[in-house]
Symmetry: C2
């Protein structure tokens, strides 16, 4: 069985918020394929967005999503990056999609202010969560049903995981690899990326 | 004066190799703009490639370069990421462009196996340099005029800086911000990215 990881993109998404997790899962995929070159792919990572139109990540990087949220392979893991998140909270199509897809994923996770989208979809009600240090007070005010934690690299609430800001998405993604594929592959992935994992 | 940072893209470029530096310089730009909102941009980061055609980074991420190497603003800093680098060593247009542009930049830098492109352009002859731990022996064999170091997060040889693998490009980019814009902005950028800088 292939494990599928979908990363949501949107206009003004923060570059490292999506690129860090993309790198982790793609490196894990390469290392698994190297061990078992004759096997079909056991891990797949791809990007999704509201439509297939190219979009601008923060700072002007233009990225073309691989799938639209209206038509994509089933997702085992859904990752919601942060960035200029406020306009996305108003996109009912996106928020509804997140709520619906999260019912069938193994894990739904956010990086940085991507946690606001999960909270808006109601996925964090009654749960502990975190976000970028600069946005924790805002998030607690906007979503009183969520218990917003500070000083955590990531918060694993079982089916939902939220990480702190920007680069913390790399640490959290390595944690997801560990949970779903084992500690050895997670450690090898960190070493391949020369990343000092705050495991 | 605006400081311009150009990051080269090519087919099968490693995602974090270009996205990490992009995030560092764009975050530094945001923080500088926040301090002096009335000033024109003082730092700019953009991507370049051999042509303006969309290209596939490693793992299938499609990115649209902002400039072609035939027509781009003057560069103060040129960053060459790694990835599937071997085909690029045969691209004379690219290697000649790197050699020519490096004569007028303040700094030319590589991430991971991007060091092979700098070596191919002759920019590392007689210098110390580094690359991904898995590729150091290969690089030493292919470029005996370069002194390839291991166990270094990055190697600063003055006008040329080379970093170790993948995530080390983030540490190196923060070092470049420190050299060109000061330690305070570099520290603030790392904190904004929640990145544990190996300074």
């Amino acid at each position: 069985m292939t494990l599928t990881v979908g990363i949501l993109l949107y206009n003004e998404v923060e570059v490292l918020d999506f690129a860090g997790p993309f790198e982790v899962f793609n490196t894990a995929r390469r290392l698994k394929t190297r061990q078992q070159p004759s096997m079909p792919p056991v891990l797949e990572v791809f990007t999704l967005a509201e439509t297939l139109a190219p979009l601008q990540a923060r700072g002007g990087l233009t990225v073309q999503p691989q799938y639209a949220i209206t038509d994509h392979p089933p997702l085992d893991v859904l990752i919601i990056p942060g960035g200029v998140h406020a306009p996305q909270l108003e996109r009912n199509t996106v928020i509804e999609w997140i709520r619906r897809v999260a019912q069938t994923t193994k894990l739904t996770a956010s990086v940085c202010t991507g946690a606001f989208l999960l909270a808006q979809a109601g996925l964090l009600d009654g749960m502990q969560a975190t976000t970028h240090w600069e946005d924790q007070d805002d998030m607690q005010r906007m979503y009183p049903a969520v218990s917003v934690l500070s000083e955590q690299r990531w918060v694993d609430s079982g089916t939902v995981i939220t990480s702190a800001g920007i680069s913390a998405g790399i640490d959290m993604s390595l944690h997801i690899v560990r949970r779903l594929e084992g500690a050895e592959l997670a450690q090898k992935t960190a070493r391949q990326m020369e990343f000092d994992w705050q495991a």
